[in-house]
């Protein structure tokens, strides 16, 4: 405790010994000039020299500027005062300005005028703090909070220069009687865009770490209901797998940043929304009984993409070490929109559209299917059994149905409304936004998911800007009626002659046989799912408050408080209406009820300090985190309802049993510090340290330390470069090294928990029994990831071409793994830290170019590319570990997959052959020796983005590309049984001597083993690489004169398209979702408009 205190104190003392900022922020009301000078000195280190007499009688000044240059700040101070200044060698000399009121201007010069003007951005939003200078002089001023400025006594005809950070400077010539409104265009230099980083912001130009940012403009272009999906193809190093295209399309989006750092606990990145950690796992704590449904579980479904201002992806040690134990898998910072100073602005965004399945699998048609079946019977020497083979004996074999068209060929509706009101003044800004989103499915039946959300925030500044207060809340409510059935699998497997789904009267067609039993495969007509009941309601609240107080010049004390609460209530029921009548006597009506909560709160007190030191600027931060996370879930199964109508009333059940329940409490504490030193924007150094504690580990191993060091050299700011390579406008070399950890091992893992014995109908002696489920392992420790990164970032031709390349090497040690135990210990395995090192190395390249840029037309392109290699090395194998670990050694473990080597079809017998370990063909390979490793991790991936604008017209599109290998679904199960098949199977073996890749058709299970081996062999895997037009957006904004007539600030019409086009050789239904069982990501097109009134 005293040590820790000393450590913290020393940080602060060290920090106060140094001091500076390149920019100045002032918030002074009615204070003497001297005080303002002291303030500026404190912020910049610049000395002030003046004659006391000069300031006599000038009274007090009021000045309010934020993050402006020194000159702009001084101009603001001296506005209206007879003072001028010069700056040399960090010394500001204040002099009297000789004003000769009434004296005539020099002969031939224009008349002197007073100018009142205004500076705004392209949308007319006032820019406060913009610098306005008279060209060729050092006279000037800055704009006030309303964007207005006043220049006294200037000659008419002079030119003023207007500049503001992040915008292209502009010149304007003044005339008599002018009240100029000068619009500045955002300079669109990505290097100067604000980047949100851990506990602060920076710009790409000055960042020593590796951070990729996607902003709201790019997110809004994409008709996705899960904001994380908007990042696809845009962030180098970020690998996505969208497993399903169900509405909400979020049932399972797997995100990996720079590969996998843990063999058995790969885990998601850490997601943080406005500083509050966001639960990324589905609301299902270890048991599917606790959650109901396809797509109700992914928490990102409950964040409104329209509320998001930017998403930053933090990758290297410098960016992530401050998150300590949770940063190993990367960190994703989501920042929501905030109100801005200015007149009240109302923004409204509406879009409507549709989605469908873009690509269908090529399956056998009716004739081919029947021929396959008959051939199978001939091969097996069998005849169709009238009690089983209904497809040949009972159903109408002349009637064909395209089941893909019927079951997944529908059109999903997509509707989205967003509205917001924002504005404020210097002291207070607010934003109130709301959204509504509704989606349906491509399936038959009435399935839909509706979401409403409210987003609110308020920022207030008081006590001369020293106290800042921010309160924000996001609340969303989701009403999910998406059902639990994905029709995709049925659409693939149903025989083409399967009966009509519905009878002529609209009732479910059970197609009974003579005995009255349904003839549908597995007794299930897929459309019966539409008779099931399903309702899952989720509410999500994210609340945050931030209070900061500037205690001393440069020293700020800040505390942020966060709270999230997600609740989920699910109900589903299988009424008799969804069951074949012949099953009624042996079945019961069953309902499921589930109730889940996750609550998180977090408190983060922080101290930050800025000062100048040895000519540079030091920014230091110290803080601590206290976090608590509680998740509770329960589920009940109810059966024995007397009628379908009462199934949502649990009291109407005769038999209620508890489903699984779950409870997890997680505590997390940390202390952290960061020091940043910026010397003349040429040299940047970063040091980060964090001490972390997590309740997920045993008492002896709860705390661990993490750190990072990083540096950047912005060599383009060196004179020699500017002299020798004038075309190079930006150049930075950066490196970082540091450690992060992974504590995603689940709660209570180290404890020897005793579980209640479940499903005991008659308790032993009337008492419940308990049983230890795990072994006490207090020695469990963090997995440790060491991250090393070096990067080169360059810009050419005034940053019209930006090129960057970064290479990284991550090594994760102390791997937590479920290690096999001899049975005599009473357990089969135990979670242990094992001496294995997992290595990720890779290269990420980004290139962005502004190809054409003139007043009317602008075209820019950006490209990103990632190559990642994931290898397990240096595994120390002990006697007991053996084979289990060897499979990982030296292998790429991203997605370890052991497969048999396919060796063709035996030309004589017509069955599959596989190579055994000696390379000899065998029909039944040995799982212990004959499997080989196959790498399913992407070989490379990336995206190419183009943005074109011509006057009000804008076109954006992004291609995503991934090169990888995966299951190709050339056939299903055993071709010849009562299931449809991909057309590949037509190339099967038919007679002795045939050389084929597909074995003979068979209608019984005798070929099931052979076929199962084949599905685990190289035959079943193929190239699943693809290039996809992920997003296309066309918009048209009305020109300003029309807008003026309409009284609008902005009116834009747009068309957005998602997953429009896919180029691939992949055989399955979709190369991204990689399956034939689940709905692929949909092709979605929406039309909409955006309207702004101010």
């Amino acid at each position: 405790m005293p040590l820790r205190l000393l450590f913290l104190l020393s940080i602060v003392l060290f920090v106060s010994a140094v001091a500076s900022a390149q920019t100045v922020s002032l918030s002074e009301t009615e204070v003497p000039l001297e005080k303002v000078f002291r303030e500026i000195k404190a912020q910049t280190g610049f000395e002030f020299v003046y004659n006391l007499k000069t300031l006599e009688g000038l009274g007090k000044v009021t000045v309010e500027v934020r993050n402006v240059s020194l000159a702009a700040a001084l101009d603001a101070c001296f506005r209206g005062l007879p003072l001028t200044y010069t700056i040399t060698n960090k010394i500001v000399v204040i002099m009297e300005r000789i004003l000769k009121p009434g004296s005539s201007p020099p002969v031939g010069a224009a008349p002197a005028i007073d100018v009142h003007g205004k500076v705004t951005d392209s949308f007319g939003i006032p820019l406060a703090g913009a610098s306005v200078t008279v060209k060729g002089t050092n006279r000037g001023t800055t704009t006030d909070a309303k964007g207005q400025f006043e220049l006294k006594v200037v000659s008419s005809g002079v030119t003023i220069e207007v500049s503001f950070e992040g915008f292209t400077p502009r010149e304007s010539t003044l005339k008599v009687g002018d009240t100029p409104v000068i619009r500045l265009m955002r300079n669109n230099n990505p290097l100067d865009e604000i980047q949100v980083i851990a506990y602060g912001t920076t710009t790409k130009r000055l960042n020593a770490g590796d951070v990729s940012t996607v902003n709201s403009a790019e997110i809004e272009m994409q008709p996705v209901s899960n904001p994380i999906l908007a990042l696809e193809g845009r962030v180098p190093g970020m690998d996505f797998v969208q497993v399903s295209g169900l509405p909400g399309s979020a049932s399972a989006v797997q995100v990996r940043i720079r590969g996998i750092n843990s063999i058995s606990h790969p885990g998601d990145p850490l997601y943080i929304v406005d500083g509050v950690p966001y639960v990324s796992e589905t609301l299902n704590s270890g048991d599917q009984g606790a959650i109901i449904g396809n797509s109700s579980g992914n928490p990102f479904n409950f964040l409104n993409p329209g509320d998001i201002e930017s998403i930053s992806v933090l990758k290297d040690a410098d960016a992530t070490a401050i998150y300590g134990s949770r940063g190993a898998n990367g960190v994703v910072l989501i920042t929501t929109k905030k109100g801005k100073e200015g007149n009240a602005k109302f923004e409204f965004n509406a879009q409507n559209g549709f989605g469908n399945v873009a690509h269908r699998m090529k399956l056998l048609n009716l004739r081919q299917y029947l021929d396959m079946r008959y051939e199978a019977f001939r091969n097996d020497g069998a005849t169709p059994d009238p009690n089983v083979d209904y497809d040949l004996t009972l159903w109408d074999t002349t009637r064909a149905t395209d089941w893909q068209k019927k079951l997944i060929g529908g059109t999903a509706q997509f509707g989205d409304l967003q509205g917001s009101l924002s504005g404020g003044n210097t002291g207070t800004q607010y934003l109130l936004g709301g959204g509504y989103h509704n989606e349906t499915t491509v399936f038959p039946g009435d399935w839909h998911d509706g979401k409403g959300s409210i987003h609110f925030n308020l920022t207030n500044t008081a006590f001369k800007g020293k106290l800042r207060l921010l309160v924000s809340a996001n609340y969303s409510t989701d009403d999910n009626h998406l059902g639990e059935i994905d029709f995709t699998q049925a659409s693939m497997l149903l025989p083409p002659d399967a009966p009509n789904l519905l009878n002529a009267d609209g009732s479910i067609n059970w197609a009974p046989n003579k005995q009255g039993y349904t003839t549908w495969p597995n007794g299930l007509n897929p459309i019966a799912a539409t008779a099931m009941q399903y309702d899952v309601k989720t509410n999500n609240l994210i609340g945050k408050a931030l209070i900061s107080y500037q205690v001393l010049d440069g020293l700020e004390l800040k505390t942020s408080l966060g709270y999230t609460n997600m609740t989920n209530n699910g109900f589903s029921a299988i009424p008799f209406a969804a069951l074949a009548p012949s099953d009624w006597p042996s079945q019961q009506r069953t309902s499921r009820f589930a109730d889940n909560h996750i609550t998180t709160w977090i408190v983060e007190p922080q101290l930050s300090y800025n000062t100048s030191f040895l000519g540079g600027v030091v920014t230091a931060l110290a803080g601590s985190t206290i976090e608590r996370n509680l998740s509770i879930g329960q589920a009940w199964n109810a059966a024995g309802f007397s009628t379908d109508l009462l199934m949502s009333d649990i009291l109407a059940a005769t038999n209620i049993t508890a489903g699984r329940d779950s409870y997890a409490f997680y505590k997390y504490n940390a202390t952290f510090g960061r020091g940043n030193y910026n010397l003349k924007s040429k040299y940047v150094f970063d040091v980060v340290a964090r001490r972390d504690g997590s309740s997920r580990f045993g008492p002896d191993n709860r705390y661990a330390n993490f750190y990072s060091v990083a540096g950047a050299w912005i060599f383009s700011n060196e004179k020699f470069l500017q002299k020798w390579f004038p075309s190079m406008s930006f150049g930075k070399i950066r490196f970082s090294y540091g450690t992060t950890g992974n504590d995603q091992i689940g709660d209570y893992t180290y404890l020897d928990l005793y579980n209640n014995l479940i499903d005991i109908a008659v308790p032993y002696q009337g008492a419940s029994g308990i049983r230890p489920a795990t072994i006490y392992t207090p020695s469990l420790q963090w997995e440790l990831t060491k991250k090393l990164e070096a990067g080169l970032e360059t810009g050419f031709f005034k940053d019209r071409i930006l090129f960057s390349i970064s290479g990284y090497l991550n090594r994760s040690s102390n791997q937590l793994l479920l290690s096999p135990l001899p049975t005599i210990t009473g357990f089969f395995s135990v979670e242990q830290n094992i001496p294995a090192v997992l290595q990720n190395k890779g290269v990420e390249v980004e290139l962005s170019t502004v190809n054409i840029k003139d007043k009317a037309f602008r075209w820019s392109t950006s490209l990103n590319f990632t190559r990642n290699i994931n290898v397990a090395t240096l595994i120390h194998i002990t006697k007991n570990m053996g084979r289990y670990y060897q499979q990982f050694l030296g292998k790429s473990i991203g997605l370890p997959m052991l497969v048999y080597r396919f060796a063709g079809v035996d030309p004589i017998t017509g069955v599959y052959l596989f190579k055994n370990s000696q390379g000899k063909p065998v029909d039944a390979p040995n799982p212990a020796t004959d499997e080989v490793y196959m790498n399913l991790s992407p070989k490379f991936y990336g995206g190419m983005q183009n943005s074109l604008s011509y006057q009000g017209l804008q076109l954006d599109f992004i291609f995503q590309f991934v090169s990888h290998v995966n299951q190709g679904y050339p056939f299903f199960s055993v071709p010849g049984v009562r299931r449809n098949q991909p057309v590949n199977v037509l190339n099967r073996w038919q007679k002795p001597g045939d050389v084929s890749n597909f074995e003979k058709f068979s209608e019984n299970v005798s070929l099931l083993p052979s076929s199962t081996y084949a599905q685990q062999s190289t035959l079943y895997y193929g190239d699943a690489s693809f290039i996809r037009l992920k997003n296309l957006s066309i918009s048209y904004s009305l020109p300003s004169n029309s807008l003026k007539r309409l009284g609008l600030q902005n009116l834009r019409f747009f068309v957005h398209g998602q997953n429009l086009l896919t180029i691939t050789n992949y055989n399955g239904i979709d190369p991204e979702s990689l399956g034939a069982n689940s709905l692929p990501p949909l092709r979605v097109v929406t039309f909409g408009l955006l309207l702004t009134i101010q």
Binding site: M1, R4, L5, L8, V12, V551, L552, L555, L557, P605, L607, A622, S624, I626, Y663, F665, Y666, K667, Y668, N669, A670, T671, G693, S694, S695, R702, Y703, D747, Y748, L751, D752, L753, Y754, N755, N756, L757, I760, A761, V762, P763, Y764, Q765, G766, A767, S768, G769, I770, R771, P772, A773, I775, Y776, P822, T823, I824, T825, G826, F827, F828, V830
Partner: protein
């Protein structure tokens, strides 16, 4: 200014104070699950650990042949008691392995879901329970003694089956998995030494009468082991380790305790809480009486080879060994006729209809066996004890409606007769026959004849 400075200092203290102490990260265990640290803090929770062990044994899925309560069936298959319907073609490959006496080492060592792993899994529980109970200060002393006794009894019971089914096995007596994972096999003698020590300890700790689930209150239910259960198993352990005199003495203690234990009628033996029961298991599965009845009692459709339901019936070999007029042949055996074939099945447990009231409990230790233990011990002691051996044997024969033993009273004949009587009296109960064959060195001669009937070959020293 001073105020501000102290404010900063105060906030620094705040930050520094927040972190560092482990207490901040102390998480109460999930209310849905207890840990060893609090389970052994209360009587009820500690008792529920042992209740959990009984529940687990009783809830095993016997027909799969992988749980402890399946010992009766799989040992019967290994020996000459049961015939597997369909033989090698039976759906259940595990039963086939037992039946054909070709259990491979994979099945017997480390696979999950085997009798072996179930036994060791339960041994871990009784080991940790013993360790924690020893040091527990808050479990009251009477409950603590009873539970310690139950744990010791169970450990002895589990090791008895481990050593008899598998020979020399690793002997784990602590919950330390790191030490246990590198443990070598102990000799059979060492294992018996531990079994005896545990049972002697259990005898002194267990209550004299039967207790309820709170390990304290008296009850008529004989489903938690008491002092006599430990005594009964001790008599058996002495017998198996050929400590004849101790076996005789210990068995006598129970036989003389007639206020609690008396032989029941043949149809009353396997009823719940019968006077013969020393330790029974209460069925816990929904709607069923004993698992034995559920599996052994064949429906009119006969045995099945393509599902797990009714895989076995009585072997003709066993059936032919019943003496004429043996009432056990009538009361403990029944049959069905399917397509002209008669299938006899064990009918000790009779209640095999779903949702009938529970009338039968699974018998683990009973008085009848004690008579046979004492008879065998006496026969081996020889001399003056041979007469007592004959008397004990006759007690069992008389209940079965048979005439008294009329053969020669010599050691060899007596031993053979007692072995025969055990075969008939104890068939399909907890592997008695299989274990008898192994311990009496008659296994090779018997099995060489039996194996061909199973279409397999008997290979010496199969395990």
């Amino acid at each position: 200014m001073k105020v501000k400075f102290s404010f900063i200092l105060a906030s620094l203290f705040l930050i520094a104070g927040i972190c560092g102490c482990n207490k901040m990260l102390e998480v109460p265990p999930s209310p849905l699950a207890l840990t060893s640290d609090n389970v052994y803090e209360t009587n009820a929770a500690a008792a529920s650990v042992l209740t959990g062990v009984y529940t687990a044994i009783s809830s095993g899925n016997m027909q799969l042949g992988q749980s402890i309560d399946a010992i009766s069936m799989v040992s019967g298959l290994s020996a000459d008691e049961l015939t597997l319907y369909g033989g090698a073609a039976n759906f259940n490959a595990i039963l086939v392995q037992y039946y054909e006496n070709r259990l491979n080492s994979g099945l017997s060592t480390s696979n999950s879901g085997t009798i072996w792993s179930e036994l060791y899994s339960d041994i871990y529980i009784v080991n940790i329970a013993m360790e924690r109970l020893e040091s527990s200060t808050s479990v009251t002393s009477a409950v603590r003694r009873q539970l310690l006794g139950e744990a010791k009894f169970l450990r002895a019971f589990f090791y008895f089956y481990l050593v008899n089914l598998y020979g020399s096995v690793p002997l784990t007596t602590s919950s330390d998995y790191t030490a246990n994972s590198s443990l070598a096999k102990a000799s059979v003698q060492q294992v018996y030494h531990q079994i005896v020590a545990d049972l002697v300890g259990a005898q002194s700790e267990l209550s004299d009468g039967y207790v309820a689930s709170d390990a304290l209150t008296g009850t008529a239910e004989r489903v938690r082991p008491n002092k006599w259960a430990a005594t009964a198993l001790l008599a058996r352990a002495y017998l198996y380790s050929q400590n004849w005199d101790s076996s005789r003495v210990v068995a006598t203690e129970i036989i003389n305790h007639s206020s609690l234990y008396q032989l029941d009628s043949l149809n009353g033996v396997f009823l719940k809480n019968s006077t013969e029961a020393i330790w029974q298991l209460q069925p816990v599965n929904a709607g069923w009486n004993t698992q034995d009845a559920k599996i052994f009692v064949l429906p009119a459709s006969g045995p099945t080879s393509n599902s797990v339901n009714y895989p076995v019936y009585l072997s003709p070999g066993l059936l032919s060994r019943f003496e004429l007029n043996d009432r056990r042949r009538m009361d403990w055996v029944d049959s069905v006729i399917v397509n002209g074939t008669v299938y006899y099945f064990p009918y000790k447990y009779k209640s095999a209809t779903l949702y009938t009231p529970v009338t039968e409990y699974t018998m683990v230790l009973r008085l009848g066996e004690q008579y046979l233990i004492r008879a065998e011990a006496e026969a081996n002691l020889g001399g003056a004890f041979l007469d007592s051996a004959r008397d004990d044997l006759n007690v069992i024969r008389q209940r079965a409606g048979l005439a008294d033993y009329a053969g020669p009273i010599d050691q060899f004949s007596m031993k053979a007769s007692i072995l025969h009587e055990r075969k008939i009296e104890l068939f399909t109960e907890w592997g008695h026959r299989w274990l008898d064959l192994k311990r009496t060195a008659s296994i090779d001669s018997v099995m060489s004849n039996v194996a061909p009937m199973k279409s397999s070959t008997w290979c010496l020293d199969p395990l």
